[in-house]
Symmetry: C2
Subunit: 648 residues, 2 copies
């Protein structure tokens, strides 16, 4: 069974009629779709503290306000997307909503934004998860890229197995993370209430170059901190995309799951930020600027510092780190659900290669999963597994798609209002439109802030990648349109060729050649030529002698080839036959011997392969491979020696 390694990795093939069985109950949908927004609380606070820290202590005191802004935004976005779940039960991703309401260009912009961001989600989440591990086990710091890549590959294999099994695997780390953060916040609050406030190890560090920042620069830093904190919102749209994967009633279950996710995310993010403020966590963009950090040590994540401060180096500390790493790695799974699904829709619409629309034998979009994994690994390697570097590229795409999606919803309600006359219905629609409009404005403002504050730090890469992807998708669609036009047959069909000229290519007189001759004669062509190309005079003479000795009933035609190239003389010969009779067809028979193992192929001349590829470009030709399987004993017979093909 040649497929054995594949089967062990991804399991047995799944029949098409089991597509319905992969639907998710709410308790499994939460880990599958929400690990991304839930997990981002693990680094969102840290990014706010890090950026505000650049502006000195005075700015650091604004942490609570910046966090409050992020919370408000999250409430708005979750409320907006709950409407989308109800309005688009067949899946209301930004692409679908934009396409339905804003037209093709807006939809493609949203799609390219989402595709770029899915790749970044995998990269950022996995790298952040590995940072949680290296914070607990600093000896692993130099291997961050290798560990991150290994996690991406594990996710890839899990997703190739199929969505339902993934849901089970992913439930434990997600619920474990929520519970361990709850424990961290509870114990931290209890210790503060009982007069033993927690202090982070970095509370005593100070940051080089930090001074009192005022005026425009301070405003800029606050906005940049807010932009960084908005990473907490990524992945919210995953549920609206995934409505069809929910058990019925699909829309209601999806909206409920989204609400639960929103409440959990807000509570955890607010709690962690409050604890970080009390514990006075300091972070530096460049750890070498951190005075007080023991020499040669890497900076710990904010969450690791809080866990150390609350639990000490107890098993609970390691549990927090393990669950954080777990959920962050799994957050990447949100993208592994989103990317292949979106890519398959785009492929079905002709904007991406058709292969991405095909379900593999486990009923998942295997090609999309593998493509995402490859892109993410490349990105992780290119940015040296640094969260701070990758996060600069992040969330631009998210907010582009948020904004377009909400704008699309505003338009959606507007169109509905034109046809609905029922008063209660109209009132609820007006309310819904207001919520989506608020969402659109808020996310558009954030998008501008993100672009302004992150552009020079790396966001420019995304602002180049997105338009390129947009153009690529347009040109792929143009290609498919052109091909479809050419493939449409004329109403009166295709001309039947007048005559068939068989040409059998001969290099040596061995079994495959004789088989090709026999097969060619069995098709009873109008003319039959045995053709050899003379690249070496001795070999050709030898061939002629054997040909004569064996009394082959077809005469041998020789072509000169002064440059020892086999392809061109054959092509010229075929073209000359067709020039004389353009309504005929030339059937080129190529004897091939087939060896059992791929590496044995390396030992045989690849000229047949090249010749076949070139012949396909010649109109009026069919290329016939006559394989001789070298491990088979063919029956021999005198029929081959007969002068004329015999009909039984």
């Amino acid at each position: 069974m040649p497929d054995l390694p594949k089967r062990i990795l991804v399991g047995r093939p799944v029949s098409s009629d089991r597509l319905g069985e992969t639907l998710l109950p709410k308790y499994l949908a939460l880990p599958v779709f929400c690990s991304d927004p839930l997990s981002s609380v693990a680094y969102a606070t840290e990014q706010i503290v890090l950026v505000l820290g650049l502006g000195g202590l005075a700015l650091l005191h604004l942490t609570a306000w910046v966090a409050a802004g992020v919370v408000a935004l999250m409430v708005i976005v979750v409320a907006s997307y709950r409407q989308t779940c109800h309005a688009y039960p067949t899946g209301g991703g930004a692409y679908a909503v934009s396409r339905a309401n804003l037209g093709r260009s807006a939809a493609l912009v949203a799609a390219s934004a989402l595709l770029v961001d899915y790749v970044l989600t995998v990269a950022v989440s996995v790298v952040a998860g590995v940072a949680a591990i290296t914070s607990a086990v600093p000896a692993l710091v130099p291997h961050a890229v290798a560990i991150s890549s290994a996690f991406v590959l594990v996710l890839c294999v899990m997703n190739l197995r199929g969505v339902k099994e993934s849901g089970r695997v992913f439930a434990l780390p997600t619920y474990g993370f929520v519970l361990s953060i709850a424990a961290l916040l509870a114990v931290g609050a209890w210790r503060a209430a009982s007069g033993h406030p927690v202090l982070a190890e970095s509370a005593s560090y100070s940051i080089v170059g930090t001074h009192r920042t005022v005026g425009l620069l301070a405003v800029f830093l606050v906005l940049r901190a807010f932009a960084s904190g908005c990473t907490a919102l990524t992945g919210v749209e995953a549920i609206s995309n995934g409505v069809p994967s929910f058990q019925p009633p699909k829309s209601r279950n999806a909206a409920t799951t989204l609400l639960v996710m929103g409440v959990l995310a807000v509570l955890m993010f607010a709690g962690i930020t409050a604890l970080a403020i009390t514990a006075r966590v300091h972070m530096a963009e460049d750890p070498r600027n951190l005075i007080g950090l023991p020499a040669g040590e890497a900076q710990k994540t904010a969450l690791a510092q809080l866990a150390t401060a609350v639990f000490g180096r107890s098993p609970m500390f390691y549990a927090v780190q393990a669950f954080t790493a777990g959920i962050l790695v799994l957050a990447a799974n949100t993208a592994f659900n989103g990317f292949p699904a979106l890519a398959s829709i785009l492929a079905a619409d002709g904007y991406l290669p058709k292969q991405l629309a095909r379900r593999g034998d486990r009923l998942v979009f295997s090609n999309g999963i593998v493509l995402l994994a490859l892109l993410a690994v490349a990105l992780i390697a290119a940015f040296g597994a640094s969260v701070t570097a990758l996060i600069q590229l992040y969330i631009i795409g998210v907010f582009v798609s948020f904004t377009l999606s909400q704008l699309g919803m505003v338009r959606h309600w507007g169109k509905r209002l034109l046809v609905i006359r029922d008063r209660a219905g109209r009132r609820s629609m007006h309310r819904s439109r207001a919520v989506n409009a608020l969402g659109a404005v808020a996310t558009a403002v954030v998008l501008v802030i993100v672009l302004l504050t992150k552009f020079v730090h790396g966001a420019w890469i995304v602002t180049i990648a997105m338009p390129l992807l947009y153009l690529l998708m347009c040109s792929i669609r143009r290609h498919y349109d052109r091909v479809a036009l050419r493939l449409t047959p004329a109403p009166d069909g295709v001309m039947l060729p007048s005559r068939v000229h068989a040409v059998v290519l001969v290099s040596k007189l061995h079994t495959p050649t004789l088989r090709a001759l026999a097969f060619a004669r069995a098709t009873r062509p109008d003319t039959l030529t045995a053709l050899t190309v003379q690249t070496n005079e001795d070999e050709t003479q030898q061939l002629q002698r054997e040909w004569a000795a064996r009394e082959v009933p077809v005469s041998l035609t020789e072509l000169e080839s002064p440059y020892r190239d086999v392809t061109k003389p054959v092509l010229d010969y075929v073209a000359s036959v067709l020039r004389d009779s353009p309504r005929d067809v030339v059937a080129v028979f190529i004897p091939e011997y087939v060896v059992r193992h791929w590496w044995e192929h390396l030992l045989h001349n690849q000229s047949a392969l090249r010749l076949k590829a070139r012949l396909l470009f010649q109109p009026g030709v069919m290329v016939i491979s006559v394989p001789a399987q070298l491990w088979i004993d063919y029956p021999s017979g005198s029929a081959q020696r007969a002068g004329e093909p015999v009909r039984q």
Copy 2:
């Protein structure tokens, strides 16, 4: 013209009948075949000084004696190989001589030794050449790997252009090097004679850890220094291999060229060593152990130090460095002549893949040239472009092949003595045999010394690589033997198939499908089936409707595929047809559409490719590609609608 980039790089194709034109006169043969032994004087002295330096000043005084040993060995080896040139005018490489006189196993051992060493020649020479450049321009030190790889690629392209043109390109650096070394030695001698002795910049350095070494360790170090100095001998066998490339009288011209080369190499090596002793050059294996070397500076090559001491930083210094770099890079060219030629002989004998025996359109063994370049670049990258690291792997192969070649020659004269009766002839043969026997003993002793002193420093890698290569060559030969046996046709030929069953694969009803149907009908098969695999129910129903609407004169057979795989149902169907009538043949027609550009291919499902590959493994099948070139307007016609194929 799709080949344009290739043509610009390697030139226009060369006709086979111009093979004679590429013969070399002596003045061009010297640079082509001798750049390796001539250039190795650039690093041989340095390696002796470096190893002796490990043992302290007392050992360093033995430099002259060690160098004298190397010179003596070189005289013996050159004399031995001049005999080979005369005895084997068709090319007397170690492989040919061993095969003729010592049998297959010895020949393959010699061949694997030579192949390994050719790769090492390229790596060591190019890296040493780049060291000459970085000694003159230290800012380039960090880019040594990239520069070395670039040089290998340049050599590769030059050799793809053909041997004669290469000879011209290579003459200038070789003769330039010889002249510039002559100038260096003359000016150095004149300054010493006139009482202004030259002093190397490292004369005042001392080496950490150096102390007076006595006893066995001293003997070992002297032997290791001798082994390192023997690098000067590499490449001597290239001329005996290349006798057929000389203009007639081939053997005499080759022997003369070898003599000229030997005299030049001995003079330069002895001169440089004498100058290095006078100038008191110090070298350290690890430059960090060199006290006196300015901080942050790389160690300069010994030759660069001598050139600085003699010429100062004048243009002459840069000329010496440039010519040294030039000839060292071209020394690699010796291997670019030797490796492809040897590989082609081995391939013709069935020990290496047949592709290596085929001359490209410029009449050179293109595949061998490219393979050598790839292996050398890999080696340079793996060893970080370090001469001192690579040189440890070097010359084991050389001395294995030297020894076997000389042993073969001893045997050769022995066999000749059995048949020759003429007294003068016998005397000269006795003398020749004595020379070769001396050569065999000397090189065998050196081989043992090299193995003992270099084994732990990296030579063990070669002692593993050579047997692996030997086993690989044996198993390739076994494969070819097995294939040849199976390819030999039975005396009464091949059975003509009874009937032809045509199967046309249908996915959609478009022009390529209609063309495939028309072509299949034109071949007048005994049965004709249009076959489709149902991977999606809606698509299949759509196909059925179109099929009926168009009144296609062949009925459509559908195959179920619950796992959405196209390959297996088709294979099973074909196998079932053949099970019923094993003497028949199934002709599988596959409609393909051909797009003009390779990247357009990426946009179409590759399932046809996979299916074709699998079908080739099924006995009794021929696979027929019916290409539809999408840029062509095919004539339409009503013939396709007719119920029965019509014969004109």
